[in-house]
Subunit: 128 residues, 2 copies
Amino acid sequence: MNRMRIGDLTERAGVTQRTVRYYESIGLLPSGEREGNGHHYYTEETVARLQKIDQLKKVGLSLEEIRDVIELYFTDTSEVLPKRKVLGILYRHLADTDQKLEALGQFRSDLQSNIERFERWLEANERD
Amino acid sequence: MNRMRIGDLTERAGVTQRTVRYYESIGLLPSGEREGNGHHYYTEETVARLQKIDQLKKVGLSLEEIRDVIELYFTDTSEVLPKRKVLGILYRHLADTDQKLEALGQFRSDLQSNIERFERWLEANERD
DNA sequence: ATATAATATGACGTTAACGTCATGTTTGCA
DNA sequence: TGCAAACATGACGTTAACGTCATATTATAT
């Protein structure tokens, strides 16, 4: 299906209409083409874009940060943007990401230790 | 220094007084002991606790989630909490963490590819 | 042709995590 | 002892990322 209205779009992307309109309003999502009537029409690419946004949100980026990088995934960047600046942004995100990865790794191993500690405790007190 | 007031606490922990009071108000931080006067007094442990909270925030946990796990770091859990429940929480956080780690890893490699792509482009157009 | 469903737009509401006064009491130093 | 700096408490403000009506117009199934 390629050429859908907001109902199908939101169903396929797993977001609400409010979310789509909000993203359009802040320039994160291009407002779908409109016919003579007021309705917006979207494509498969819009679905993919919404999914990518969701993925980046899970990584912990704000919508504003996502707006900075999303074009890298969905336009021929060879044309539009100032290359050096984009590269700068990418390097910053890479550094941030590595920081987060380290913090997350640390947290994970803390969790592991605690889990093991609790399980040992439960095992030692299996007498209820 | 062990026994400080909020000024020193916030300076050492790198947070504002408002943050401390907010954390106290939501039960994330135990309200420091109060003398006959109304003042609160804190210890090194409070500093450590604030730092731990900050670390967990960076991992992407909400203050509410942090409240669920922070006790694991700062109390003798052998006494206070229902063991099985805590273990459940820990396992959920572990699963969440692994998800985030995967998403982050994916994002990181996407970033890498894009960076390389841009650098190749810049190299190929070194003619300004 | 008409009733029902889908869409557009605007406005106000909501939650988390604090920021920012305002006002009153307490402390510490010259 | 006086007075600026530190602390306590309350109330209102703020931002992000939407949720939730309300109302009007367009599309669709019978």
